[in-house]
């Protein structure tokens, strides 16, 4: 009897190990598959390799880095069982303020960077206060912030792009290290993800975040300050918005109200593909980085194949629904 239960336990562990591994690294496998498919189709369509080139991959990684930095904030919020709709427009608003201060006011770049981060904190804190302390559903509170941020961004820029930013921030989005191969923005992305992965998986703070996502009530009844943690995750997301805004404006060397557009949704798709559950409390943040790279790789490949950009929007919608379906199926309890 005892032996039987023991082997049963082991079997169950093996099965759960496999399912966990496939979940954690599904996006990595996905990226490899996409790479193979697009390399072959590049040959078939153009008779030459345009996809599997250093330049194209640098491009993919550059694009991924900004989305992924913002998506990290979304992932942390998702882990607690909340949601932030304002992230993309926050990026636009923060960039707009930054660009105006640099170009029109001529403020010192370092100071502007500080102000941009402060702004990110303020936006995150607003979401956090409304959600954690006032008790408005995150969905509604952050939808409000989204409109406020977008409106302010349009107002400030008069919906006109601001090009040619000071050279002093150029290195962030367009700089390279190691024989000019590795973009600095990618290093930035790796850095924030490694830190976040460590914090979420190894520290007390991280454990409490997962507990919150599992059950806010149980977390509260274990002595965790649920409100403070909820607030903290929104502020963290705000800070990451500011970093994302900086890297993006530097890479594009321009600020427009479309900067960061739809990032909040791309972040959700990336998070879910990366294994984070919409229900909260499950998944690893590092997965989100791969999820975002997967997403960008896919659209890069489609563009090279000449798929109509409007069709790409449709595809994005399909990927979002598919990813959420996958999440729901994955979390469905066995009868």
């Amino acid at each position: 009897m005892n032996n039987q239960t023991e082997t049963l336990g082991k079997k169950r562990n093996l099965a759960s190990d496999i399912s966990r591994l496939s979940k954690d690294y599904m996006s990595v496998v996905g990226i490899i598959l996409l790479a193979i498919i697009f390399s072959i189709s590049s040959y078939l369509k153009h008779g030459a390799q345009y996809f599997m080139t250093l330049q194209n991959w640098t491009n993919i990684m550059l694009q991924s880095s900004t989305v992924a930095i913002v998506a990290l904030g979304q992932s942390i919020i998702l882990l607690t069982g909340n949601f932030d709709l304002s992230l993309g427009r926050n990026v636009a608003f923060i960039s707009a303020v930054g660009a105006l201060l640099m170009k029109n006011v001529g403020m010192n770049t370092g100071l502007v960077v500080l102000i941009m981060f402060a702004l990110g904190i303020v936006l995150g804190a607003f979401n956090g206060v409304m959600t954690a302390y006032v008790g408005i559903p995150a969905f509604i509170a952050t939808l409000g912030t989204q409109y406020i941020a977008y409106g302010l961004a349009k107002l400030l820029t008069q919906a006109t792009p601001i090009p040619n930013l000071p050279a002093s921030i150029g290195w962030l989005g367009r700089g390279y290290v190691l024989n000019n191969i590795i973009p600095i923005s990618v290093i930035m992305m790796l850095f924030v993800y490694i830190v976040a992965q460590f914090v979420t998986s190894k520290t007390k703070v991280g454990r409490n975040i997962y507990a919150l996502g599992g059950s806010q009530e149980a977390a509260f009844f274990s002595g965790i300050n649920v409100k403070r943690y909820t607030f903290g995750t929104f502020v963290t997301a705000g800070i990451l918005c500011a970093l994302g805004a900086l890297v993006l404006m530097s890479r594009l060397n321009s600020v427009a109200v479309t900067n960061g557009q739809n990032y909040e949704f791309d972040a959700v798709i990336g998070s879910i593909i990366g294994g984070i559950s919409l229900a909260g409390g499950k998944g690893r943040v590092i997965g989100t980085m791969f999820g975002c790279i997967f997403l960008i790789t896919m659209f890069n490949g489609f563009s090279q194949l000449g798929v109509d950009p409007f069709v790409q929007d449709v595809l994005k919608g399909i990927v979002l629904v598919a990813a959420i379906t996958l999440d729901v199926v994955r979390n469905r309890k066995k009868a």
């Binding site: 239960t5 049963l8 336990g9 169950r12 562990n13 190894k202 520290t203 007390k204 703070v205 454990r207 409490n208 997962y210 507990a211 599992g214 059950s215 009530e217 149980a218 977390a219 509260f220 009844f221 274990s222 002595g223 965790i224 300050n225 409390g281 499950k282 309890k333 066995k334 009868a335």
Partner: protein, 502 residues
């Protein structure tokens, strides 16, 4: 043998289950179960969690389809492929989590999916209200049929669900643990209604955890264990002890294995605690090594008292002393730091983080003890959680199993382990054995013994009077936010408590 067979021939069976088997991946939930149900009787269905009770109800209610076996109604084979078909055949289920439309009225709910019509399309509201009123009066209930369901008490909601079944002209009414959410007084009303229905010829299948109810209410009883049919017999022919042994499949020791621990100094003193209408001037003292019970009906303010002492709810006035020192705190966190802990009422929602592992749940309230500078030491975590899980005899496939997959009793042990790991000295246990198997209950009682033997203090809130009488050194009775009295173990009786409860 012959005689028994003849007797069986006389009986009129309204429902017969013949060799029902239902398998799920990895488990056989029902294994060749055959039960006959006599017409116009109350038939108890008992068994521990996982015995197959719910699966059986779902098969009867048309939600699950058996892998093999047949159901016979009035001697004829029948197949229910959906709840609607079952309802048409006169089988209604009153689920534990009552499924009513909260924002609709009582009358509207009773006719849900079965509206009375005037002509072909128009709804006959007047007719429905009249019919609803008739049923309410028939049951001798005081319910306004124009009231929305959300404003009713849980007990009345259950009655509405029963009225729905009556209205559907059900011949067989299946009730899934109705008593779990009722107070003693509401229970009396429920029993009366159920007996009335039986006398009108309706057959009732009554699922319960509480054996006392089976004896009070049922004519026959069926025991299930591990998906197997153990026995079906008249309640008059069996003792409580025998039923328990059939359910757990082994001999049971004492129902309440109370051990008296050495009593020490006063550790918690509450003076003149007031909070709005819920707590009216409550004072009491508890010593170390004591199990202090708080009795009262649901709504008497028992949980509210615990919440106020634990800093979860604010108080209007009053003082709290821990080990003689007055404490001023504003949050649950402060109370925890004063050495208090809470095993909350709703285990699944408040006690455990279901999707987290046994290991992580065990250390959750005291991560500082397994971390250094905020970083968790995995080795220490594994070692400590293992120690506590072993100490509390939690039965789990592994430390990394998600707590949601454990049985109720083992989940509750994890919650207790969490507070023992926090080294809490004053533990509030709010309904610690609710929804837990008979066998596992005794284990929880043993843990209570162990806690007080180690000099801790246990404050136990419970709706099960027997449990308080069996386990507590002292019992305080509350009613409508007031302290009605306090009794020592040697003078307490159920009658004395009841007299103070109302």
């Amino acid at each position: 043998m012959q005689i028994r067979l003849d007797a069986d021939m006389d009986k009129d069976y309204v429902l017969g289950l013949k060799g029902i088997t239902k398998r799920f991946p990895g488990v056989t939930a029902l294994d060749n179960v055959s039960v006959d149900i006599e017409r116009g009787t109350i038939h108890g269905l008992i068994g521990e969690n996982g015995a197959g009770k719910s699966t059986l109800i779902k098969v009867l209610g048309g939600i699950y389809h058996p892998d093999s076996g047949v159901i016979e109604q009035d001697g004829k084979q029948c197949v229910f492929t959906s709840p609607i078909e079952a309802r048409r055949a006169g089988v209604s289920v009153v689920h534990q989590e009552i499924k009513l439309s909260e924002t609709l009225t009582v009358a509207e709910n009773m006719f849900l999916g079965n509206l009375m019509l005037k002509g072909r399309q128009l709804v006959d509201w007047k007719g429905m209200r009249r019919r609803a009123q008739e049923i309410v009066e028939d049951l001798g209930m005081d319910i306004d049929v124009n009231e929305t369901v959300e404003s009713l008490s849980v007990a009345k909601k259950q009655v509405v669900a029963i009225m729905q079944a009556i209205n559907n002209e059900s011949k067989i009414l299946i009730m899934d643990e109705p008593s779990a959410v009722l107070t003693e007084r509401e229970l009396d009303t429920m029993f009366r209604i159920v007996k009335d229905l039986r006398d009108k010829g309706i057959t009732i299948i009554y699922i319960s955890h509480r054996l006392d109810e089976v004896f009070e209410l049922c004519d026959n009883v069926t025991v299930l264990r591990d998906g197997m049919h153990i026995d079906t017999l008249p309640v008059a022919d069996v003792s409580k002890q025998q039923l328990v042994e059939m359910m757990v499949g082994r001999e049971m020791g004492l129902e309440y294995p109370k051990e008296t621990a050495p009593i020490g100094d006063t550790v918690l003193e509450v003076k003149n605690l007031k909070r709005g209408n819920v707590l009216k001037d409550i004072s009491f003292k508890v010593k170390s090594g004591e199990v202090f019970g708080i009795s009262g009906l649901v709504g008497a303010g028992r949980t509210e008292l615990a919440r106020a002492i634990l800093g979860i709810d604010s108080i209007d006035s009053g003082e709290i002393y821990v080990r003689g020192e007055k404490i001023n705190y504003h949050s649950f966190k402060n109370a925890i730091n004063e050495g208090m802990g809470l095993i909350p009422e709703d285990r699944k929602l408040q006690g455990i983080v279901q999707v987290m592992s046994v290991k992580k749940n065990t250390v959750l309230a005291n991560l500082d003890r397994v971390s250094r500078r905020g970083v968790i030491n995995a080795k220490l975590e594994e070692q400590y959680s293992k120690e506590y899980v072993d100490k509390l005899r939690v039965s789990t496939p592994s430390m990394d199993t998600e707590v949601q997959y454990l049985s109720g009793g083992n989940q509750q042990k994890v919650v207790i382990a969490k507070w023992l790991f926090r080294e809490s000295e004053i533990l509030f246990l709010d309904e610690p054995t609710r929804g837990i198997d008979v066998g596992a209950k005794v284990e929880i009682y043993r843990l209570i013994n162990e806690m007080v033997n180690e000099g801790k203090t246990v404050i136990m809130i419970s709706s099960e009077m027997q449990e308080l009488i069996g386990m507590c050194d002292r019992i305080m009775v509350m009613h409508e936010g007031k302290k009605m009295g306090e009794m020592d173990r040697d003078e307490v009786t159920q009658e004395k408590i009841m007299a103070l409860c109302v």
